[in-house]
Symmetry: C2
Subunit: 124 residues, 2 copies
């Protein structure tokens, strides 16, 4: 059995700057994890559908979606699970939805580090 | 001159679980930084108005708002700056809007760490 493919799921926006920020956020993970990809829930490409279709074409069947969201709202409680159900049927894939990154205590510690860096700068 | 008060700004939601996640995310910062507070942009209390009014009543005049957002969209580019302008006039305070936490490279590294932890668990 091969390990599941990691998909970092961002919300997406028609604003390119939004997507660029998420690409930078994803970059350390994409460099560290083989075959990891970023995908957008809406308004930007690649979509989950695109990324999963590509993975299946390359022989993958198991995917883990890790939401680049700080908390779970309507999107992660309703919209994304419904999209996943449909994607599983369309592509014959197993797709596991992980908790949003913000539910991991590592994020709270990172936020504290960011605030500490901010405090060392004079407000501009 | 006293150092500015730190306000961690979350989006807010009528869903209590959403706010609880942000309170947990804010916790390490609130423990590490004197007089730091969390505030919500909308749909939850305390609002920015509440937190700044309280700070001013306690003698503070300078505030730094650090958005607990992964990227800057319409809210941080338009809505929040407009709210800040109004709050500055209402409360006679100086309010500096910092970049969203997601623009700091520390966050991308934290995401990689979260993914690594996720990979060590079998998908449930």
């Amino acid at each position: 059995m091969t390990s599941p493919r990691i998909i970092l799921l961002a919300h997406g926006s028609s604003d390119k700057r939004w997507c660029e920020t998420f690409e930078q956020l994803a970059d350390p993970t994409l460099k560290a994890v083989d075959n990891a990809r970023i995908a957008y829930m809406e308004l930007a490409e690649p979509s989950m559908d695109t990324v999963i279709a590509q993975g299946v074409a390359e022989g993958a069947s198991d995917f883990v979606i890790i939401p680049l969201f700080l908390a779970a709202g309507r999107h992660l409680r309703k919209d994304v699970p419904a999209m996943i159900k449909e994607l599983e049927q369309t592509h014959g894939a197993n797709i596991h939805l992980a908790p949003p990154i913000g539910e991991n205590p590592v994020l709270g510690q990172a936020i504290r580090d960011v605030v500490m860096m901010q405090l060392e700068q004079a407000p501009s």
